[in-house]
Symmetry: C2
Amino acid sequence: MIYLDNAATTVHKPPSVAEAVFRAINTMGNSSRGTHESSLEAAGTVFETRCKLSRLFGCPGPEKVAFTANATEALNMAISGLLRPGDHVITTDCEHNSVLRPLYRLEDEGIISLSFVPADREGVLDYDAFYSLIRPETRAIVCTHASNLTGNVTDISVPARAAAEHGLCFILDASQTAGAMPVRMEEQGIDILCFTGHKGLMGPQGTGGICLRRDAALRPLKVGGSGVQSYNRSQPAEMPTHLEAGTLNAHGIAGLSAALDFLEETGIEAVQFREQALMRRFYEGVRDIPGVTVYGDFSRPHAGIVALNIRNYDSGEVSDVLSVEYDIATRPGAHCAPRMHRALGTEGQGAVRFSFSWFNTEREIDTAIEAVEEIAAR
Amino acid sequence: MIYLDNAATTVHKPPSVAEAVFRAINTMGNSSRGTHESSLEAAGTVFETRCKLSRLFGCPGPEKVAFTANATEALNMAISGLLRPGDHVITTDCEHNSVLRPLYRLEDEGIISLSFVPADREGVLDYDAFYSLIRPETRAIVCTHASNLTGNVTDISVPARAAAEHGLCFILDASQTAGAMPVRMEEQGIDILCFTGHKGLMGPQGTGGICLRRDAALRPLKVGGSGVQSYNRSQPAEMPTHLEAGTLNAHGIAGLSAALDFLEETGIEAVQFREQALMRRFYEGVRDIPGVTVYGDFSRPHAGIVALNIRNYDSGEVSDVLSVEYDIATRPGAHCAPRMHRALGTEGQGAVRFSFSWFNTEREIDTAIEAVEEIAAR
């Protein structure tokens, strides 16, 4: 199979990832629960992984990194945990439902009000709106670092500066960029970073996290066992325990740790360079094929994603043909990005998304281009 | 190492568990996201695992089983998702902080009121109180199936009957019993079952779930990507998607699936019989040692747990000696069970908890008994 659905999850992981999880399952105790060898092994791995993530993301310290099950949980934590009645929030048309639905819910419950930075037909944001939409009651800007549909990278210097100048909290959804391009909280002015472990970071599913630059007073999404301060009626106020109730997925975190080692050795810049080259090769191979429409803006920074349609063919059918006849895995449909599809005018047809990873080859890209060519010629 | 901390997490898993996770990490796509082979493989495994859990727990159907990261998340989902302003809830002194803290939080925020079924010095509940505490505004009874400290099993027929007779929702925390003794939702009148995958079920960390007997209208803890109904502003109302936003931990679920196969082949009754025998052997070996105080009630059903203290020795120090000098892993301290310790009168000292699994041997038990004997003789 030629796997080009890396924006959904990376299937090709460094071999050390599965090996680390395998070992962890057979030896690890419960992290921060007890002081015997296997419990300490788990706690040590969890702490080391916090350190690696903190370094990777330019976070003020490992204790500011809390683990979650995925980016969706981190985003719910940030959004539901930060916002208070009367708050106004600015977000964008490029968001995934993991940002939209937590915000819509608070809006529908009459708790917050919401404004959208609009995107044009190429999915490019109207950056001035990050400023013009600010009101006295604006509390936060939440946006994605790259669209999971078009691959357009957000110029986050704009929302970061707007947030800093107006004392807002800047929450970044790095689901599509963590591991695939530099993300630096301090340098880029990101107050809360939400990430997943199983995409660009190449770790196992069931991992992800939230990083805080300052002590944001987040109401925890979940409370419960913490292994410390057990006589306290409340979840401990100290990070990371504040946001980590219950047994951590230390088995998955062991795999994430191995993936982070791979990324550290390889270098994020090298990964980015390779994914960009594969994405460009594909883009240049398909953009002029008669009947093919490619979405997004390729004149500015772009993640390893190319979304397209062939004539007026249903995107699900094209993706099925690619899978069944060519053994190429892509993702059709709505991609949990309803406003983005509306902006692109692809609400009915959806789009076929090709997304690339470090482990893809030029040969795979060329095969995919040929497949698109053949389908377009039918 | 002699691992006797199975109430925290089971370290000895069936070998098939780590093997299944290893395979899954290297082959699985994102469950319910796309229709290519690797995505379908993930979706198939997730669905099969729902079926197995539904069978195991006597749940009305696989779609009523939603996966969570652990039991704490499931309990937060049940408690925060069900209760409304003005509701009254009955719970017990035997609870873990994963039940207590979500309830305390709602109480402290003035949303609910709370009553406790008291436990005596043996940790035995005053069962009449499940009835006498009911008020017109009582909405739910939440309790554990077995204390994670004493191992006392709750006679859940009492709260289940009280709930059924008064139209209340009965929420069961099966963290200490799922996989280790029969749990049957329909037969035992459990409305919402919360379980973890990494203890008695012998699966990986990062797995667990919530099962609904009827269509309880739970407000989801998290909302976001669902892979279906992407243009809907809200999380889909249908189970299990209603409670499952974001990418599932299909890698961990693959391991849980293998663990469930092992349990199905072995038989829950056989597991229970063996753990009971080990627990009894240990209990009978230590109860008469001079200076040893054993907590809990051993005249009624009891999980594979024995908590004790030696003289007035600090439980943490005893556990450390067991670990360092005897290579025996136990769990000292408060066990996230503050009210249980208060009821037992062990708030200051804590207790040393020994907890057993299918994979422990009689020889290990005897070594642990000898160690307790030697420490008590110092």
